[in-house]
């Protein structure tokens, strides 16, 4: 949200909402009244997980390019125009697939063993609807009938934390953490968490905060929406108190844009020691029905540069061994290009795991692209079940047993795919 170009020096003018941060807030009444000591990290293990969602349906075939697969039919048969020419593909020794050139910032990470590519991921009877497909991925339930999220179900195996251990740094809250005990805030930045006050009467702010806390406390736990809103209000105050104790930290330079900013915020929160370990971030724009070449290249470039900065930041703060990013998209795109240099909603695509804890490499098998091998709807058949991908993260990174992971995955006992150490 930019306010560049706004003249902030105009006398007497209050920038409506631009600089809404309160003056003073808790600090005016001195320490000890609202400030509480830093929360100890909850006993959930030391691993951090950032779930990265590429929203809109990432075109997997142009991301992990099967340039040599089955004699190169990928381009010759299906994508004469938008297919990535083999000369541009960043090749992977020993594989018939390679990277889209825009993923160059991640190539060295792949070479160093920090990037796992899992091919052909989808689920039985997968949906071509954004909404339903997301629900499938968030819940780990191919029928998309479940209302909770796999991350929420995992967190539900532990006691409610005193302070949130997970956060969504997305525009809207999603289903992925539904079912988690306690609050999983949807937030943009800890800097937002200051109690708003009137700049003309800053000494009123602590009193307003007290009143707000009393209104929240008075209705918290009451049945219905009002009780939930009051509960969220209390959690907002809790976040305000805690985030005020978090000093700013030095971070590496990140690319511009809200996606990189969300990754940056995730690192900041991890480093802050308030106990937050699990994050959901998302980048939108992958629904490339037309004009795909430039759009997709820009998106992939953004993802790669942002993840590269993210990793450098983890290294700077010494938490690179403890942090993995898991990257998915709700579906891939049609094998055949359309008449507008784009693709429509399609079938399986790659998922990724990124970080020092990853066993780098290419996993699973690439779906066949031969006309005779396609599904009834004319799309490649999936070769890796999405639940096994999530299950591997649960088992290997989050330390779940197979049966416990199966519980999270609605009864599906996951196969360990081995892409995390």
């Amino acid at each position: 949200m930019s306010d560049q170009g706004r003249d902030s020096t105009e006398v007497g003018r209050r920038q409506f909402l631009r600089r809404g941060a309160a003056l003073g807030g808790a600090a005016l009444l001195g320490p000890g009244v609202f400030l509480r000591p830093l929360r100890a990290a909850p006993p959930l293990g030391t691993k951090n997980l950032v779930v990265v969602e590429l929203f809109g349906g990432n075109d997997g075939l142009n991301t992990i390019v099967p340039w040599a697969h089955e004699g190169g039919v990928y381009k010759s048969l299906w994508r004469p125009n938008i297919g990535i020419p083999s000369s541009s593909v960043l090749k992977i020794p020993g594989q018939t697939v390679g990277f889209h050139p825009a993923l160059a910032p991640l190539k060295s990470h792949y070479d160093a063993g920090r990037l796992a590519v899992i091919q052909g991921v989808s689920s039985p009877d997968a949906s071509f609807s954004h909404e339903l497909a997301r629900r499938i991925w968030y819940s780990g339930d191919p029928t998309s009938s479940s209302g909770d999220g796999w991350l929420g179900r995992y967190l539900a195996k532990f006691d409610a934390p005193a302070f949130p251990v997970a956060a969504e740094i997305t525009k809207e809250p999603t289903q992925i953490a539904s079912g988690a005990p306690g609050v999983v805030p949807a937030m943009k930045s800890p800097d937002d968490f200051v109690f708003p006050g009137d700049p003309l009467h800053p000494h009123e702010t602590p009193l307003r905060r007290i009143a707000y806390a009393r209104m929240a406390a008075g209705l918290s736990g009451v049945p219905g929406a009002i009780g939930k809103i009051a509960g969220t209000a209390e959690s907002v105050l809790d976040l305000i108190d805690t985030f005020q104790t978090v000093p700013p930290i030095q971070q590496v330079a990140y690319p511009s844009g809200p996606f990189a900013a969300a990754l940056r915020t995730a690192v900041r929160l991890m480093v802050s020691g308030v106990g937050m370990r699990y994050f959901h971030v998302a980048l939108s724009g992958f629904d490339t029905h037309g004009a795909q070449p430039v759009l997709h290249a820009n998106l992939l470039g953004n993802v790669a540069a942002s993840l590269a900065a993210f990793h450098a930041d983890l290294v700077l703060h010494g938490i690179n061994q403890d942090t993995v990013a898991f990257v998915f998209s709700e579906f891939g795109r049609t094998i055949e290009e359309n008449a507008n240099l784009g693709t429509d909603h399609g079938g399986p695509g790659p998922a990724f795991a990124f970080g020092d804890g990853v066993n780098g490499g290419v996993y699973g098998s690439h779906p066949s692209l031969l006309p005779g091998a396609l599904s009834e709807l004319g799309e490649p058949v999936f070769t890796t079940d999405m639940r096994d991908v999530i299950g591997t993260v649960l088992m290997r990174w989050l330390g779940e047993s197979q049966s416990s992971a199966g519980d999270v995955l609605h009864g599906h006992l996951p196969t360990d795919l081995g892409f995390i150490a």
Binding site: M1, E10, G12, R13, R14, F16, L17, R18, A22, F128, S129, H130, E131, L132, E172, P173, V183, P185, A186, M187, K188, D192, F193, F195, P196, D198, P199, L200, H201, E204, P206, L207, R208, I210, A211, Y212, R214, M215, A217, G218, L219, V222, G224, A225, I226, K228, I229, A230, T232, S235, V236, S284, H289, G290, N338, A339, N340, G342, D344, H345
Partner: protein, 453 residues
């Protein structure tokens, strides 16, 4: 069973069919009685003859906000907002301010028309055509975006009330072929015959050389459409129910007998016992539009119309999570408690402070005066309002019918406390208005109670 049109029921109806009713409006309508009120609400069109300057999308957004604040009969505008969420079309992709303005004009002008008139008009709208790539859907190279979303979101929905799919992927592909050539030129619908696939198709069991109009008719004839739209309307105005809930059945019947008349369906809904039940009154969370516009209406805020402030108004709505004319996806906005998740609620507290603190003497997009609450300042001494009375006046002005005891006492104590924490009995004067009353208005706007409709 007749519904008693008490002030409480009137206020409930007005909250749901508008954006923050004022006490005087509640009084006026409740005197009129339920039937006359419902009839008049349904009759009223959208307000204002002014046109926006169409230079930036922020100006269109701010213009719509101002229209909503100024409206005397906002049901049509509330329906326009409902349809905007339903046919969610975003400027971010459409890219043309003019097309988005035309789209908005269509939604506002046709908001209360029968669905069988509204649907074809919107499906031919240039902004929507671009948004769903219809202009790129051509013979031999179909793009199924418009076909898919027409079924999935705009009409039947994915599943019917028995949980069975309303259409198959094959239907989507065939419908896409029927819609080939459905395009636009310079803001007007254009059928490109040369791009149209005129061969035989089969959509949902109907075989023939089907074109876009035939496809629309198939959707309108499908009973799943009436159910799906009636369900969305009920959840929007009354309370959340599953698609199969029998409370919807009489409204679906009205749709059938009145040929998809939205006015008839709403008229029936606003006369149902269920609409005035405890369940209906309890749990609906205000959208950001209702929150912000309601506050501005109730405080009789003056909203400036110059371009300089349009950006601020648009920004506020975006921060609250409802960027008008730029919904996050074709699915529109997530309603209900999603509005008041952590960030959404924090932003409401912030906007509450900004609105409450908007003073005429400080430059900003809006302002409101003490007069709205207390009348002229030379009458304040004789009114002798203490903190409790001031709080009551604020709660009445903001149409908060049943504040909790804890909210009321928190607000009263706030007024009677000095910055150093000591007791300081509140006395109303210009200075305490500026310090304390604006503060209690901010708190009331931020209260859990105010977030509910």
């Amino acid at each position: 069973m007749t519904i008693e049109f008490t002030p409480e029921n009137a206020a409930h109806l007005l909250r749901r069919t508008g954006f923050g009713p004022r006490a005087s409006e509640v009084a006026k309508w409740s005197k009129l009685g339920l039937n006359k009120t419902v009839d008049e609400l349904l009759e009223g069109g959208t307000s204002g003859k002014t046109k926006p300057k169409k230079k930036s999308i922020e100006e269109i957004k701010a213009w719509w906000i101002r229209r909503l604040v100024a409206s005397k009969n906002p049901l049509a505008d509330k329906m326009a907002l409902f349809w905007h969420d339903h046919f969610a079309t975003a400027f971010g992709k459409v890219g043309s301010v003019t097309y988005m303005y035309k789209h908005l004009k269509k939604l506002r002008g046709k908001a209360l028309l029968p669905f069988n008139k509204l649907l074809p008009a919107i499906l031919k709208d240039s902004a929507l055509v671009i948004w769903l790539d219809s202009h790129e859907n051509k013979k031999g190279a179909p793009n199924d975006n418009l076909a898919r979303e027409s079924m999935e979101i705009f009409t039947t929905g994915v599943l019917n009330k028995n949980g069975n799919p309303n259409y198959t992927e094959k239907d989507v592909k065939e419908a896409a072929r029927a819609l080939t050539g459905w395009s636009q030129e310079r803001g007007k619908f254009l059928f490109e015959a040369g791009d149209h696939d005129g061969s035989s198709k089969k959509i949902k069991g109907v075989q023939g050389k089907l074109d876009g109009h035939d496809f629309i008719q198939i959707l309108l004839d499908d009973p799943a459409t009436s159910r799906h739209i009636v369900w969305k309307l009920f959840c929007f105005f009354a309370y959340e129910v599953p698609l199969s809930d029998p409370v919807l059945d009489p409204l679906v019947s009205v749709w059938k007998s009145e040929d998809s008349s939205i006015r008839a369906v709403l008229g029936a809904m606003f006369r149902m016992d269920a609409f005035y039940s405890a369940e209906a009154k309890a749990d609906r969370v205000k959208s950001p539009a209702e929150f912000m516009i309601g506050a501005l209406r109730q405080l009789k805020a003056k909203v400036k119309s110059s371009k300089k402030w349009s950006d601020d108004l648009a920004f506020a709505m975006r921060a609250l999570g409802q960027d008008l004319l730029d919904p996050p996806s074709v699915f529109g906005w997530e309603q209900g408690l999603a509005w008041t998740a952590t960030d959404g609620l924090l932003q409401r507290v912030r906007v509450a402070e900004q609105i409450a603190g908007s003073r005429p003497e400080v430059k900003g997009p809006l302002s409101w005066k003490a007069k709205v609450l207390f009348g002229k300042s030379d009458t304040w001494d004789e009114q002798a309002l203490d903190a409790g009375a001031v709080v009551q006046r604020v709660l009445d002005t903001l149409s908060i019918p049943t504040p909790s005891a804890s909210t009321r006492s928190a607000l009263v104590d706030y007024m009677n406390t000095a910055p150093n924490g000591s007791q300081a009995t509140f006395v109303l004067n210009e200075e305490s208005f500026d310090t304390k009353v604006r503060g209690v208005v901010a708190l009331a706007l931020a209260s859990p109670e105010y977030q509910l409709s």
